[in-house]
């Protein structure tokens, strides 16, 4: 029986604000899960803390709503112990790029096979609209009493420098496109980062849906709004490193594209590179049967609750009279 997006819904009341971009992301995740036909019990959605952090409660798979900023290590721990699980980590931009940015960078160095989605809304939603790390310097959203004094982080470039091997950006209100990106990110072997432009109608009155759609930015000739968002795939851009030699060339492209903002904001896949060994391959060099017999599958008990571990050799080495 084919799974439908509805099969991934829960009955939990969703209390996001009306019009919040989070709804689009939620739908896209559910659609992607259905398209990927992942049995509900085989997936685990991990999240941080924030409005975004509530996501797992709305998805009918295993759902782990962790701590502020810690979603990546929680998620990695589960994936490492049970590589058979499909692990998706989600969270806010404050969560992932503020308090959690250390884990963001460090996770890049591992390339564990999971997908991380950041709901990029420029604000700390759940704590009432303080500036998040992606808000540009000098911006003053309606929730701020003063313009933002910090420079913004460039999450695409940061993911790239950190070592993520799949990097893309989606838009919360372009659900189909976002769904496609999630499907690709999940299918990617290695650590995937997905930056999602997520309007927060309650606190961010700058990067609004209208703004992304360019309603303030009309074509002088025909008076039509010029959408700020455009799709990389439609612009001839290709960020896939098929051959390791292409790395530097593509790197500079990624960097350039990641800096586009303002009147032209790219969405789509910035970078993909499957030439980098994923972490399970690296573990396999140390523990050859890791994938076949990972921690979660290991039989630690023999019968009668006796241990299945044989430490005789080790004990022998401690023997006084060996």
């Amino acid at each position: 029986m084919a799974l439908k997006p509805a099969d991934y819904k829960t009955e939990v009341h969703n209390d996001w604000c009306p019009g919040c971009g989070d709804f689009g992301i939620l739908n896209a995740i559910q659609m992607a899960l259905a398209e990927l036909a992942i049995p509900t019990h085989k997936a685990a959605i991990f999240s941080g803390i924030g409005c975004s952090g509530k996501t797992p409660h709305f998805i009918h798979t295993y759902g782990i709503h962790t701590l502020h900023g810690r979603v990546l290590p929680f998620a990695q721990g589960a994936k490492l112990c049970n590589p058979d699980l499909e692990v998706i980590a989600v969270g806010g931009d404050g969560d992932g790029l503020g308090i959690g940015v250390g884990h963001f960078v460090s996770s890049g160095r591992r390339n564990i096979d999971l997908t991380y989605i950041i709901y990029n809304n420029g604000v700390y939603g759940l704590t009432k609209g303080q500036a998040s790390p992606t808000l540009k310097l000098g911006m003053k959203t309606k929730s701020l009493t003063q313009p933002n004094v910090n420079d913004s982080i460039n999450p695409i470039a940061l993911a790239f420098i950190s070592g993520f091997t799949f990097i893309a950006r989606g838009y919360a209100y372009d659900i189909r496109h976002l769904k496609d990106l999630i499907v690709k990110a999940v299918r990617h072997k290695g650590l995937a980062y997905l930056d999602v432009l997520q309007p927060c109608p309650t606190y961010n009155d700058i990067n609004t849906r209208e703004w992304f759609q360019g309603l303030d930015n009309t074509d002088q000739e025909n008076g039509k709004p010029i959408p700020r968002i455009y799709k990389l795939e439609n612009s001839g851009y290709n960020g896939e490193v098929k051959d390791p030699d292409q790395y530097y060339e593509i790197a500079s492209r990624v960097f350039e594209k990641s800096n586009e903002w303002g009147d032209k904001i790219p969405i789509g896949i910035f970078y993909q590179n499957e030439n980098v060994a994923s972490y399970d391959e690296r573990i396999t060099m140390k523990i050859d049967n890791y994938i076949k017999y990972p921690p979660a599958s290991q039989e630690i008990i023999l019968d009668k609750n006796k241990t299945n571990s044989n430490i005789n050799e080790l004990l022998k080495s401690f023997k006084v009279n060996a």
Binding site: H57, H65, R70, I283, P295, I300, T307, S309, N310, V320
Partner: protein
């Protein structure tokens, strides 16, 4: 020439960090143990990589021992600092082996000796000459106490050896001086020479060439010493006992060994002294022989910090894997927040907390039991946890099996308290029995019956089911069919969804917190507290690694006909109040002993038993309690010679 018949000796070797002190001590310990003698060894070192003073005390005895003594029978040195620091502790009739080439070295030539310490030593020597004192002067003073000092021209000896073996390169191998010194020291003990060669081969087992040269050098030095000194030897009244079932284990490895047996298959860590060695042992032995013939493994992850270490371990635990993280104070401080997440989500997790001297960075390589109350209270808000302390190396192995059971039976985080004293000591123990404690995974369910027609029930699995009779709910690993649940750090309902309802809140708090009573009901008394020497109205209370010094002191006192009871508390949270009331029932005098400033256990006793402590013995200079200093104080108390109720021990170098 006649031998000195002894029951035990204390042997100390010192030298700069990196100069081979540890391997010499390990060879020595192994040699004596091979000859059927009990060993207790203890390592002291600076937070430094090379150059600062480190030393290793090995106590050897013909009966079981569990602690060190201050007074030294044989002091082995090859640098000047060791002499300046330790010579004063050599006991009457003891011997000192030193580098005769350094005889003119004066104290102010040693940059690693603090001016304060220089003064203390100068004072000790009663020296009032204007110049800084020299080794020569020091030894003159020392010899007044019938101590024999044997000067060795180490470099000359090395040179001779290199000529002897026709290998001139060796003469520059200063690193081998430790083996020369050690070997010479062994010539003063009546012991099987062959054991020495075997021990050297064992210690250098991965480098056979080096082993071979060292064996030759040891032989050479031994012969040299026997010829030159014609010394009378320490001879044990009894040795060559049957040690076929005895192992010599280091405290940083015993709990790690226990983890392998317990089925811990994922350990995370961030490097920190003295906890890293636990993880390093696991990593070195990551592939595990299984009895069923398969090859298991323990995946060891070095994370970016301790927050990641604990949260990754929790993530792993959710998959049904037994997971742990090992750390020390600073790292544990960073884990406080996530501990609460494990608490509210009822995740079984083991944290091996190797205590060291705090606060803050403190004395990173020194010993203390300063984290007890922090472990009990770490993390904001209220959630159940077990805090469990091991008293020695052997206990730490079996306790490790137990803490994993506790974590899973009660579904909560367990903090396993260990410390630097245990980690840095080495001891002869009865061989560990991996089958003594069986594995109990509690209410872990790997399969969920889907035969029920009740679709609603299937869709709504209750991970946090509120049941009448028990606080423990079914726990499926992530990935289990029909077991979908949610976790959140927020208060939640039975499925794990956020709830702010005041009634749900009370029910869930009651569910979780009631586990503390459950723990007290279910855990056996022997695991709560151990009691030694019944029927005495003087009772010592303590916890953790002070155990060794206390038991050794009690043995001494027993010999004198003084009987004192000792209650070693292992389960520190929840506090076994009832059992303790029973155990302390008849106590007229309670003496509480701890390696910290504020008598943290005493606070717990006062709080839970509402009774006062008569004497609080504390030590917080970073050096473990020796059995001789403890003996003196306890004896004083018994004899009513101790006035203060708070006694601060301060022995140690």
């Amino acid at each position: 020439m006649h031998d000195k018949i002894v029951n035990e000796i204390t042997w100390v070797i010192g030298g700069a960090q990196g100069s081979g002190v540890d391997s010499a001590a390990n060879i020595f310990s192994k040699t004596c143990a091979e000859d059927g003698l009990y060993i207790f060894g203890k390592r002291e070192y600076y937070s430094n990589i090379k150059g600062e003073h480190s030393y290793f005390t090995v106590r050897v005895s013909n009966k079981p021992i569990r602690s060190h003594k201050e007074s030294i029978d044989i002091l082995v040195s090859f640098d000047a600092e060791t002499l300046f620091r330790h010579a004063k502790d050599v006991s009457t009739n003891g011997i000192i082996i030193f580098n005769s080439e350094l005889i003119e070295t004066s104290i102010n030539e040693i940059p690693t000796l603090d001016p304060d310490v220089q003064n203390t030593i100068t004072e000790y020597c009663n020296y009032s000459g204007g110049d800084p004192i020299t080794i020569k002067k020091l030894l003159e003073k020392i010899q007044q106490n019938s101590i024999k000092c044997y000067g060795i021209p180490y470099h000359q000896l090395l040179k001779n050896f290199s000529e002897h073996t026709n290998n001139p390169a060796l003469s520059k191998l200063a690193r081998m001086i430790n083996v020369l010194a050690l070997s010479i020291s062994l010539s003063f003990i009546n012991i099987d020479r062959q054991a020495l060669s075997r021990a050297i081969k064992y210690i250098f087992r991965t480098k056979p060439k080096i082993a071979e040269i060292n064996v030759a050098a040891a032989e050479y030095a031994y012969n040299y010493a026997e010829q030159i000194f014609q010394n009378n030897k320490f001879t044990f009244s009894k040795n060559k006992m049957d040690f076929s079932d005895i192992i010599l284990v280091q405290g940083s490895q015993s709990s790690a060994l226990g983890k392998i047996v317990a089925g811990c298959r994922f350990q995370t860590y961030y490097p920190i002294t003295p906890a890293s060695e636990d993880s390093e042992f696991l990593e070195t032995n990551q592939v595990i022989e299984q009895i069923d013939g398969n090859k298991g493994s323990v995946l060891v992850m070095q994370t970016e910090d301790e927050i990641s270490a604990i949260t990754m371990a929790i993530g792993g635990a959710l998959t049904g894997t037994r997971t742990a993280t090992a750390t020390s104070g600073p790292g544990f401080s960073l884990m406080a927040e996530a501990l609460g997440w494990a608490g509210i989500n009822e995740v079984p997790l083991v944290v091996s907390l190797y205590q060291r001297a705090g606060p803050s960075t403190g004395l990173p390589t020194r010993h203390e039991q300063g984290d007890l109350l922090f472990a009990i209270n770490a993390g904001h808000g209220e959630f159940p946890r077990i805090v469990f302390a091991s008293g020695d190396i052997e206990e730490s192995f079996y306790d490790t099996l137990k803490v994993f059971n506790f974590a899973e039976i009660f579904q909560l985080p367990v903090i396993h308290l260990l410390d630097k004293a245990i980690a840095s000591s080495v001891m002869t123990c009865k061989n560990f029995d991996p089958n003594k404690i069986s594995i109990d995974r509690g209410y872990l369910i790997k399969k969920i019956n889907n035969k029920t027609k009740d679709q609603d029930k299937l869709k709504h699995f209750k991970r946090f089911e509120l049941q009448k009779n028990t606080a423990i709910s079914p726990r499926p690993p992530l990935g289990t069919e029909n077991g979908i649940f949610w976790n959140t750090g927020d208060e939640h309902d039975e499925e794990g969804h956020i709830s702010e309802d005041p009634t749900v809140r009370i029910k869930m708090m009651d569910k979780r917190m009631s586990k503390l009573n459950l723990v007290l009901q279910e855990i056996q008394d022997e695991d709560k507290a151990l009691s030694y020497n019944e029927n005495s109205d003087i009772v010592i209370t303590s916890w953790g690694s002070t155990k060794g010094a206390i038991l050794d002191t009690l043995d001494e006192l027993n010999k004198e006909g003084i009987k004192i009871k000792f209650v070693q508390i292992k389960l520190l949270n929840p506090f076994p109040q009832q059992l303790l009331e029973k155990l302390l029932n008849s106590a007229k005098t309670i003496i509480n002993i701890e390696m910290n400033y504020s008598s943290q256990l005493a606070k717990l006793i006062k709080q839970n038993l509402q009774r006062d402590i008569d004497y609080e013995i504390v030590k917080y200079n970073g050096r473990p309690i020796s059995c001789d200093e403890l003996y003196r104080v306890i004896k004083g108390i018994v004899n009513n010679n101790v006035e203060k109720r708070r006694i601060v021990l301060d022995y140690g170098t």
